[in-house]
Subunit: 359 residues, 2 copies
Amino acid sequence: MDITIYDVAREAGVGIGTVSRCMNNHPNVSAATRARVLSVAKRLSYQPHVYARGLASKKTNAVSLIIPYFTNYFFIEVLRGVQDKAAEVGVELVLYGVNNPAEAEHYLRRSLHRGHVDGILFFSMGFPESCVSKCKEMNVPLVLVDGYHPEFDSLRVKNREGAELATSHLIRLGHREIAMINATLETQPAQERLAGYRDALEASGLAFSMDSVRVAPRGKQDGFNKEWGRSAMRDLLSRGPVRRSLTAVFIASDVQAIGALEAAREFGVRIPDDIALVGFDDIELAQHLEITTMRQPMYEMGTLALDQLLARMKDPGAPVTLSTFMPELIIRGTCGARRNKNFLSHEQTTQTQLADSNT
Amino acid sequence: MDITIYDVAREAGVGIGTVSRCMNNHPNVSAATRARVLSVAKRLSYQPHVYARGLASKKTNAVSLIIPYFTNYFFIEVLRGVQDKAAEVGVELVLYGVNNPAEAEHYLRRSLHRGHVDGILFFSMGFPESCVSKCKEMNVPLVLVDGYHPEFDSLRVKNREGAELATSHLIRLGHREIAMINATLETQPAQERLAGYRDALEASGLAFSMDSVRVAPRGKQDGFNKEWGRSAMRDLLSRGPVRRSLTAVFIASDVQAIGALEAAREFGVRIPDDIALVGFDDIELAQHLEITTMRQPMYEMGTLALDQLLARMKDPGAPVTLSTFMPELIIRGTCGARRNKNFLSHEQTTQTQLADSNT
DNA sequence: TTGAAAGCGCTAACAG
DNA sequence: CTGTTAGCGCTTTCAA
């Protein structure tokens, strides 16, 4: 039924060792023999048994993905990148969706076990310190995607620079009084985005003050959620003195921006006419809601992540790398840039049509 | 470094066979021995080598998922279900994201190879006829999720009944002239949703006519896309005579509904005041755009899919099953029901209906 | 350049 | 109930 290396060897009149060499492009085979073996293999449509190979060679040709399930579009896109690259180079992807840190650690430990996978892609979550020594001693290639740890290869987005860009954009549009809606400052992205916001303000000689920043309390998704966006915006809008001069808000994520949009509607505040908004992430909804935002190169992060992992597998001793990705400003409706003819002329815009969504 | 079954055996003072039995809950071990072995195993934090076990037992403890990449939320949710169930029973998930039928077939064949995976979950795509005989002869457990083939266990949504429900909802709200925006009739969901629409109309004594149905030309996503939704809606709205009396549209999917919404805005048609809309799928965007729609029990489909696959693995000879899922009406803004106090009062439904299975 | 043979770590059949 | 042993299909020395 199943055809094995023995069948091929017999049929080709060689030993199984030779067949093995052929299948693995080992140099020590004469061209003639190789051709003969390969043709037999094809004729029999022989395919090496993955597990047998794995057992003998101690390689699995698989990598595991440890990936949180709370979010959505971002991971899909990154995953798509990983996926495409995996298909290209022929490695298997073992998927572990994770709902909490404990699960993450569990799967991490499992993946660390000998002969399970050749490498690990760990996504977006804080890397459990309790695992770093084990990772090191097991010497399992590991790369952190959308995360950072000094001991491992990491891929991350330039949050600070992105936030700076977003805020500068608002400043260029003439806004002087720009608030920020942020998440919990305990997360790194939140800290960095705050820093970028501040950078932009100060670079333009505008005053920075935490009074204009709404920081989320600890909680669901660390404050990166619609509800917090809504209540922060409400707060911003209901404070009379602040409201008078406030003309723009930089929001640390698109989900929060959605909530902010809702709050604005409640208050009868027109976006972008009364207040301009810029978000962060470019989730799918942002496009439909016409949110101007900072887009992260998700797909590219995926392909690069796997590339990096493969590189690490090839050369375990190489110095640890940190790859950073620059987010891109996507101008849509909520920042008001499109109303500004002058501005439009020298700014790259997407082709999505602007709709007056807030009348 | 790596600890093997031999280490455990030696440490526990037994043979490796006994250790193996303990690890696999084989009955033929005395309670005392079992306890001792297990404790040693734990102490050494021994974990069987997956591949060695796979080689010897000819089981892999893994299933492959062949899943199209074009869509998003639906698959995420289903996947989450599969994922959770997998974690529960401890099977590995090997992911194959697929961009076209050729790739699907490629991965299918790969998965079919001996010893690769114990079973296959094939998602949403037409199952390649060229593979059914091979599947049968290889005897690899396979279940189709959101798809159907008479030879294999299938899980699907009751599209016809769902469409009927959606349309009836519109009728109950008093609409008499209800159009439909559909996809290409070459896909089964499109056909079934059309049939359901027709059922509802006829059950209420309303005239059914293909004049009121916009069928997509072949193309991207079989017409299940925003662009087609927009142009179909434009067409509906620009045809004077039709427009006069038209008060509602049933749309075969939420993505299309989004396009329709845009078209309505262009024409200055108010939703739901001038025209009521009901979509299908309940993608994430539907919630934010307040689209009334038919929700598919995605998560449950995922868990059930894996359950079914496990059942099939346990009993390969069992008769082929077909599990169907009833979509649920989610009332939001676009159908206008909320304007109707009476209606709201007796529509308190939110319980997901579980699968009814039939052979 | 090639064949033979020794494992990889485990399961399962076979004796005891 | 338990130890021993023969593979599972392949990679990889080691001789030839």
